[in-house]
């Protein structure tokens, strides 16, 4: 898999960062997402929404990326919320028990609402 199979679109709405990821997220492309999340944390944007609507595949290394940052983000009063997952991608998260650890939602709006509700 080369990097061209994976893309991140980043937009900021209010104090939310929305990362829309597409393609394949595996051991080779995971560092791209890692950099993006690292940047957000560095910029003190802790309210992160990752939109999975165009993501076709996620591997164990891809899952690991979220684990790497979640602790840091939550300690700063933020969260990483995952939205718009395809069924297949959700199955991978589900297998690992991620629904217990992360808010996995259907739509970006729900995630924003959830952030604001907190």
């Amino acid at each position: 898999m080369n990097n061209s199979n994976f893309k991140i679109d980043k937009k900021n709405i209010d104090d939310f960062v929305i990362l829309s990821i597409s393609g394949y997220l595996d051991a080779h492309t995971a560092p791209l997402l890692e950099q993006e999340l690292e940047k957000s944390v560095k910029d003190e944007c802790y309210k992160i929404i990752v939109n999975f609507s165009d993501l076709d595949y996620i591997s164990s290394a891809g899952l690991g990326v979220f684990m790497a940052f979640i602790e840091d983000v939550r300690q700063n009063g933020g969260d990483i919320k995952l939205t718009n997952m395809k069924e297949k991608v959700f199955a991978v998260f589900d297998l690992l028990g991620f629904p217990l650890l992360f808010d996995i939602l259907n739509e970006e709006n729900e995630a924003i609402a959830k952030f604001q509700g907190n």
Partner: protein, 708 residues
């Protein structure tokens, strides 16, 4: 010749010395006995002269024949030709400073003059034979089509001159010589001399070698050939002209060999003339030729050196290149500076102290002047260039400079700086040459780097093979056998090593514990965690009695030991032979596939992956299930490498295909595994495996007897 060549050189020379001594002694005796020239004296000088000359001729020429194949480099010729100049000069000084014989007959001279003339004549003969020998071997070395013919003719003519003259003086001179014969003879001699002169001019034709000489030897050759030309003419006149000093002496003491000797000196004159003219013609190209030769030599050498870089370090390459650049450009000094992360280092220097350059580099204003150039720069006059005039503070002798940037890819990694003490001392060609050098430096360093890389790659590869072997040994080579359960397993990493794991251990109560796991990621890091996992599994299993407890304890140990983003998924089965059941717990791993007659279930008790969260959350969440088994039941455990297999059209294997396979197959564990792997291969259809892949099959009960 063979007879004589057996005599050693010192003995031979001693014999010659004795011969010469004998000659002088007898001459002295004659001087005091005879009052005027007589036949006896003539015969004596004739035979003794023949003997002495033959001895000399033999001495020189036999040596030449023996050493026919030795090298005679052009530089040595210049040196020898210079020696001939000294010999001729000495002879001519004798002619000038020795009192001329105003008396025709030697016995009328005072004894002192008699002896001096005698000695100088022998010396003259000696020198002349040496000259003849010298020209002979040189012309043989540089022979052309007609050399041999011409030399033969010259030899015949000279021999004739010698014999005729000797005969003339010895046999006819004292008799009444017919005037007519004498005139004819003299005319003939003149014609012969002229012929020899022309033939020598013709034979000295091959002078291309002169153009290849360096400038210095060439200028030297020019001067030497000019003076040799003049001196040989003067000597020839003196020996051929019957009133000349040498002529008279020769007539008296070498009985008529004067025309023979004169012919040799004349030949030398022709020889010198040809060489002088050749040098004159080739002189303007001398500098260019010298430079080109040096360039070609250096570049050739550099290329050879580069081909051998396999064994050289980068520093050795820089040093060699700097030295060769100095030779090729003819500069006063050369250095090569190298840039590393903003600092300037000295790669190598030639003819200049590194201390000077260090001082220069430490100058903040001008020290980094070369780091920014993108193209070769030629500063013809440093003192006239305001920008870098202060360069002279550090290098007072650097009146001209060339700087050639070195690139590795697009990266500027250094500069070759060549300086010369002479303003306008460099030519544009020098820039071209040094640029060629720069290209070669890059090539050499690149070669060297690639070589190092391939060595490292090779080492890495062999280490990976070792790792692969070790990891293979971490997985059970043979699975244990049980009365009711049959086990089979297969594991294959996507790279040399991987993060998949399977094992069979024993719980505290002795019940078998089957594990299948997958460390996140793949390759080396996964392999290390996998080894760590195995260690933890084997230390904990004997302390616990349930899969759930095992997974909780594993999480307890491994959480915090692993990277935040690394984790392990694991399934654990306890095989209970007494109750015909298994206990199953799952930590984030793909589900267990259970086939009961024609019914297929995927069993997925909840459980987080290991090392994702702390123990409280982990243990609160994890569940454990008991599964009752009956004869013919099949269990399959896989890692996600199986369901994520893709075929060439990008289709995933999926859990569904695992289920479908199990529904349509009924075999004992081992056979089932084989069939399943075959099924996978068929699906893959040549596509490559992207993730580590493990399959563990368990069959229960009635397959026991039909296994095979």
């Amino acid at each position: 010749m063979n007879l004589l060549s057996n005599i050693s050189k010192p003995i031979y020379l001693s014999l010659v010395a004795i011969l010469i001594f004998l000659r002088f002694s007898v001459d002295t005796i004659f001087y005091y006995i005879l009052s005027q020239d007589s036949f006896i004296f003539s015969y004596w000088t004739f035979f003794s002269s023949i003997l002495i000359l033959s001895a000399f001729i033999y001495y020189f020429f036999s040596e030449q024949f023996e050493k026919n194949n030795i090298e005679y480099p052009n530089e040595k010729f210049v040196y020898d030709f210079t020696r001939i100049f000294y010999l001729q000069l000495f002879l001519y000084l004798l002619v000038i400073f020795l009192p001329n014989n105003d008396k025709f007959y030697s016995f009328e001279l005072p004894y002192f003059k008699f002896l001096i003339s005698d000695v100088s004549t022998i010396f003259f003969a000696l020198v002349t034979i040496y000259l003849a020998w010298f020209m002979f071997i040189w012309l043989i070395r540089k022979k052309h089509k007609r050399t041999k013919l011409y030399l033969k003719i010259i030899a015949i003519l000279i021999t004739f001159l010698l014999v005729a003259e000797l005969a003339n003086y010895v046999f006819f001179n004292s008799l009444f010589l017919n005037d007519l014969i004498s005139i004819y003879l003299n005319d003939l001699i003149s014609i012969f001399l002229l012929t020899i002169y022309v033939l020598t001019l013709l034979v000295t034709k091959k002078n291309n070698w002169i153009t290849q000489l360096d400038r210095k030897p060439k200028i030297r050759l020019l001067l030497v050939s000019l003076v040799n030309l003049i001196l040989s003419l003067l000597l020839a006149v003196s020996v051929i002209d019957s009133d000349g000093f040498l002529s008279r002496n020769t007539i008296n003491f070498l009985s008529g060999a004067n025309n023979f000797l004169g012919a040799v000196v004349l030949a030398l004159n022709a020889f010198s003339l040809r060489i002088f003219l050749a040098v004159i013609v080739s002189l303007p190209t001398a500098t260019i030729v010298e430079r080109k030769t040096s360039e070609v030599f250096s570049l050739t050498y550099l290329n050879k050196f580069i081909a051998e870089t396999t064994s050289k370090t980068a520093n050795e390459i820089l040093r060699m290149v700097t030295q060769l650049a100095l030779n090729a450009s003819g500069s006063t000094a050369v250095w090569l500076e190298v840039y590393n992360n903003g600092t300037i280092d000295i790669g190598a220097t030639a003819q200049i102290s590194p201390e000077l350059i260090k001082d220069f580099h430490s100058d903040k204003r001008i020290g980094n002047i070369f780091t920014t150039i993108e193209k070769p720069v030629l500063v013809e006059s440093v003192p006239e260039n305001d920008e870098i005039k202060s360069f002279l503070n550090y290098f007072p002798f650097a009146n001209t400079l060339i700087a050639i940037p070195l690139f590795q890819g697009a990266k500027r990694f250094g500069t070759i700086v060549a300086i010369d003490s002479e303003e306008y001392g460099f030519e544009p060609e020098d820039v071209a040459v040094l640029s060629a050098f720069a290209d070669n430096v890059n090539l050499a360093l690149e070669n060297q780097r690639l070589l190092q890389e391939s060595i490292e790659k090779e080492r890495y590869r062999s280490e990976m093979l070792i790792a692969k072997r070790i990891q293979k040994e971490l997985l059970p080579q043979n699975l244990p056998e049980f009365s009711k359960f049959q086990l089979a397993a297969y594991s294959s990493p996507a790279e040399e090593v991987g993060g998949d794991y399977y094992d069979v251990a024993r719980f505290a109560d002795g019940a078998p514990c089957v594990l299948v796991g997958d460390v996140s990621g793949k390759g080396m890091s996964a392999a290390f965690y996998m080894a760590q996992l195995k260690g933890a599994v084997h230390s904990i299993t004997p302390q616990v009695n349930s899969p759930k407890d095992l997974l909780i304890k594993l999480n307890n140990i491994l959480f915090g030991l692993m990277d935040k983003q690394s984790y392990i998924t694991l399934v654990c089965l306890k095989l209970d032979e007494n109750n015909d059941s298994v206990t199953f717990a799952r930590a984030g791993h793909p589900p267990l596939f259970l086939k009961k007659s024609s019914n297929l279930q995927t069993i997925k008790p909840q459980g987080l992956g290991i090392a994702l969260v702390g123990n409280e959350l982990f243990s609160n969440y994890i569940e454990e299930v008991d599964i009752k088994l009956s004869d013919g039941d099949i269990i399959m455990l896989i890692t996600d490498g199986v369901n994520e297999i893709r075929n060439s059209s990008g289709e995933e294997f999926n859990f569904q295909r695992v289920s479908d396979f199990l529904l349509s197959h009924n075999s004992s564990a081992q056979k089932l595994l084989k069939q399943f792997l075959h099924n996978i291969d068929e699906f893959k259809d040549g596509a490559s495996q992207i993730d580590d892949l493990t399959v563990f099959t368990i069959s229960f009960g009635c397959y026991n007897n039909k296994r095979g």
